[in-house]
Amino acid sequence: MTADFAPLLSVQDLVVDYRLARKVRFRALKGVSISVGAGECVGLVGESGSGKSTLGRALLGLTPVESGRITFDGQDITHARGAARRRLANDIQVVFQDPYGSLDPTMTVGEVLAQPLEVAGTTRVQARATVAEMLDRVRLPSDSVHRYPSEFSGGQRQRIAIARALVRRPRLIVCDEPVSALDLTTQATILELFIDLQRETGVSYLFVSHDLGVVRRVCHRVSVMYHGEIVESGPTHTVTHEPSHPYTRRLLLAAPVADPARQAERRAAWLGLRESA
């Protein structure tokens, strides 16, 4: 199942530094390599500070790259700036974690969704049709266009953010913790939406999350990050069922399951792992 994805994005030995002060640098990514195939969903798991979000931001050109290479569809985009970077908007899009901060509160939903199309030179009539289609795809009523983001719940806002990522019909969407601010029930339906959209449009996802349960649900493959490095990679099923790296094992056991008896066993195993660590 996982072998037949043609490579769309490949990242080799990526190094990213953050400047904390003059001459003080923090190495957020220490030579990370990852690839995403067309129509594939690749998960990136780790705790906060592990560098998983930094990798996403580096792909999107939001943070400068120290060394290494990012190739998208055969084209080197590591240091793409200005017009070259703006052209990539056709292919690479993003969904952020925070459903409140990621939509401009002063714009109507229609304006939010039409903006990426307007900058691409789409006519107003075409844009309106595309916006309507995408709203329908993310299961929101078409009269949402006249409303402001504040009139929607967290889950609905995340649907709007997904629709915005989709309007240019990109080939890759970087999803930066897109469900971690949501209730579990909302989270389940949004994950469902991600899967359906991928099947309908063939878009690829780089899915950043701290939750292995979420990743198991949507991702074909997963890479586990720890302190700026990838410690384990593989098919999701293998990594979540037979983790080889002790950190992955700890991560797995740390997530509580909704079953008191099994959770008691899990906790005991986790405590044992913590003692031995």
Partner: protein, 605 residues
């Protein structure tokens, strides 16, 4: 040209809501009416003025009001009322020029400096600071002398000195907005920087700029009158400052000549100042502080139900323990908020209890009222919220009738609180030591040394291996998990009998979550506390809780022991919440295989 600049510049959609809110403020309405009258007087001056403002009649030199001259005549024998009306034109014209100049120079520079930062910011800020350090009045006098006293040039020069005000406000707003994810999203969407500045940034600075314009216009009018008073500006155009100069020369003999322009000037500036402050209020304060009366009304409506709602008024939930065995007991709790359309009840009759050593989970989605319930128990409801209950008992004591000061005294002693966002619940200006030691000294009356020893001891207890370093740190120097440990240390340092934890692990990574839950469990067993955990995650419930209440729309739909709730959830909502956890659902490979399989069957058919 003579209209005041601010109402015209509001965006259509915003104007409706802001205008409507503005019109509810009596002071603002009066100020606006006054300003509109001044504007009308200026526009209609040629028709309203009974005489030519420069026409000299020796009969009315220093004349008292009356005799066809409503406000009398000035020292040169000109009609004061006519001059006032024409003077309003000059005044407003000058104010508009000044504001436009300030806006045009200050706002684009401020927005760019805030958005781009770096060199742009340094250069613009340097210019702005330099402008602010130059004595404006002297420069204006020089400009007046150098330009042959051209009034528009003078007003533009004044606008240049007003620009730093606009610059600072736009820069601060732009810096805040620049970090919002929607700006990143716009960049990823291929939006160019100029366009981001034009759309997102301009919209963000809009409201504060409107306020600033009202205030700037007031200052501009005052400065302008000052310059005219000194004799700067065309002598043939009537102006208020000039009239005041005229009146000032004969102040002791004919005080009224000074009085009329002074009133006009004072009233106009005051109107602009009040409009500015009303707008500032409306923009900055989202939720208005409820009056005592509205709070009493909420309490009355919560307590005295209408007949139609009676069936809904039965308390939901039940009590497990006898009253004397409870660490916490809540009976028929209701929480309401005053809104425009009446009282909005967010907790509608909740009864629950927890015994010492017991862990009670309050579970539900956002909007279920679970957090409001915990805030009501702590008496920490946000402003506008009112709670009524048939009774709230904390370690055996009825507290629902106590004053808020007495309730506050319980915090830290009988009942402790662990919040959801650890880092935003620590004051960034103080060290951890200060924030742990001060409560111990004030609440428990310990000496400084004792309090410090206790704080250190509790930090060790919550698993912090180097308490000295943590005590000396500021909140931004420690991680979220560490901050949550510190807050837990603070909450248990007073040995409360009830600990309320509101989503204590939601903002944390799973690995840290497991640590924090383990810590809470250990502390709860060690101290024999009742622990109330508010959460939306049934994994957390399964991990730590003994009993659970499930809330939906402000009511308890189910309550019971954890094993029983998980084995056989009685309410469909509970079952739905449990099944939302991703433990046993198919993984992506299984989902794809199922789809391929179904597709294959379709093909076979």
């Amino acid at each position: 040209m003579t209209t005041a600049p601010f109402p015209a510049t509001l965006a259509p959609v915003r104007r409706i809501s802001l205008l409507r809110r503005y019109l509810r403020r009596p002071l603002g309405v009066v100020a606006l009416v006054v300003l509109l009258l001044v504007v009308a007087a200026a526009v209609l001056a040629p028709w309203l003025a009974p005489f030519d403002p420069n026409f000299v009649t020796f009969k009315i030199v220093h004349a008292e009001p009356g005799n066809g001259h409503l406000l009398g005549g000035d020292s040169a024998g000109r009609d004061i009322l006519s001059r006032l009306l024409y003077g309003a034109r000059t005044t407003l014209y000058g104010a508009v020029i000044t504001c436009v100049a300030g806006l045009v120079l200050g706002v684009p520079a401020g927005v760019s400096a805030g958005y781009f930062g770096g060199v742009t910011d340094r250069i613009c800020s340097w210019i702005s600071d330099a402008l602010q350090s130059i004595p404006g009045m002297i420069v204006l006098l020089v400009v007046a002398a150098g330009t042959g006293q051209s009034f528009p040039v003078l007003m533009v020069a004044l606008g240049v000195f007003m620009a730093p005000g606009y610059y600072r406000i736009s820069r601060a707003r732009a810096m805040a907005v620049r970090k919002e994810p929607y700006i990143d999203a716009a960049r990823v969407a291929g939006v160019t920087n100029p366009r981001i500045l034009r759309t997102h940034m301009m919209r963000a600075v809009y409201a504060p700029i409107v306020v600033q314009t009202a205030l700037t216009a007031g200052i501009a009018i005052g400065m302008q009158a000052g310059l005219q008073f000194l004799g700067i500006g065309s002598a043939s155009t009537p102006s208020w400052g000039q009239m005041m100069n005229d009146g000032f020369n004969t102040m002791l003999t004919f005080p009224k000549i000074l009085l009329w322009p002074s009133i006009a000037l004072g009233v106009t500036i005051a109107a602009l100042a009040f409009i500015g402050s009303t707008l500032a209020d409306l923009i900055s304060i989202r939720a208005e502080q409820p009056s005592k009366r509205s709070r009493a009304r909420v309490r009355h409506e919560l307590a005295a139900p209408s007949a139609a709602e009676l069936s809904d008024r039965v308390a939901s939930g039940s009590h497990e323990h006898a009253l004397e065995d409870c660490a916490l007991r809540v009976e028929n709790l209701r929480v309401g908020y005053a809104t425009q359309s009446g009282v909005k009840e967010v907790v509608r009759g909740v009864s629950l209890d927890a015994a010492p050593g017991e862990v009670l989970g309050i579970v539900g989605e956002s909007g279920s009222g679970k957090t409001q319930t915990s805030f009501a128990v702590l008496d920490l409801l946000p402003s506008g919220g009112t709670a009524v209950a048939d009774g709230i008992w904390i370690s055996g004591r009825e507290v629902s009738k106590l004053s808020s000061a007495e309730r506050a005294a319980l915090l830290g002693r009988s009942i402790g609180y662990v919040p959801q966002e650890p880092l935003s619940n620590l004051d960034p200006c103080y060290t951890i030591e200060h924030q742990l030691v001060e409560p111990l000294r004030y609440v428990h009356g310990l000496s400084k040394a004792d309090a410090r020893a206790r704080a250190r001891e509790v930090l060790v207890r919550v698993g912090i291996t180097d308490p000295e370093r943590v005590l000396g740190s500021y909140p931004h120097q420690i991680s979220g998990g560490m901050a949550q440990r510190v807050l837990i240390a603070g909450a248990v340092s007073g040995r409360p009998s009830v600990l309320v934890a509101d989503e204590p692990t939601t903002a944390l990574d799973v690995t840290v979550q497991a640590e924090v839950l383990e810590l809470l469990r250990e502390l709860q067993q060690e101290y024999g506390m009742a622990l109330v955990i508010v959460t939306h995650n049934f994994g957390v419930v399964a991990d730590i809780c003994d009993r659970v209440v499930v809330m939906k729309d402000g009511r308890i739909v189910e309550t019971g022991r954890v094993e029983q709730i998980f084995r056989a959830p009685a309410h469909p909502y509970t079952a739905e919440l449990i099944s939302a956890s991703l433990d046993d659902v198919e993984g992506r490979d299984e989902l794809d295989r199922a789809l391929a399989h179904a597709g294959g069957e379709d093909d076979a058919r």
